[in-house]
Symmetry: C2
Subunit: 127 residues, 2 copies
Amino acid sequence: MTATTLPLVPSGKDAQDAVCCAPIARQPLGEGEAAELAVLLKAVADPVRLRLLSMIGSHAGGEACVCDLTDAFDLTAPTISHHLKVLRTAGLIGGERRGTWVYYWIIPEHVARLGALFTPLVQPARA
Amino acid sequence: MTATTLPLVPSGKDAQDAVCCAPIARQPLGEGEAAELAVLLKAVADPVRLRLLSMIGSHAGGEACVCDLTDAFDLTAPTISHHLKVLRTAGLIGGERRGTWVYYWIIPEHVARLGALFTPLVQPARA
């Protein structure tokens, strides 16, 4: 895999800090944080990438070989690789080559960041 | 507001049913569900719309007048209205005209659908 130019989300401890995990309704998002979250959301706002993420996350053992992923799609291997690269660059999955194949797994703290963002804070004021 | 052509997410009881609230890592997403969720995610995968959603959700009383929203942006009123319409068409906010202004509020069950989607199921298999 070559280096990519999409911004990376904070990893490890940084991801747990300031910008992490505040529900969207807690307080107005700043411009910088909104821009960063939009990049992360664009990475998942695609049907193929959502399906890949769910296939990887639900695979036995918590990781999936790329050879397990391609058969489900009527897409070429390079196209699947492109989508996996977008997810990986966004920090939502990790990957590692072992022998012939690349294996992928979900990075739960980054997926959880999106989960926490869309956790409603309060009941609506209206019935 | 005129009718729009973006698909609507299921509302009310339908939103609580079959497709609602399964974490993405529970099982592989089907094509139809992935396509529907991608539409919802595209609606929020934009910095301005994320900021609008957070401003509406965190506003005192749980709703915000459009007159409270425009000052924070260096954008024209029609542009803000466009973004509000995308959020509303996706079912993430509701809106109602009262006198001069339109008031908006978050629809928590639709926001929660995204939150539940990105709730990790399990710890990673890898350290």
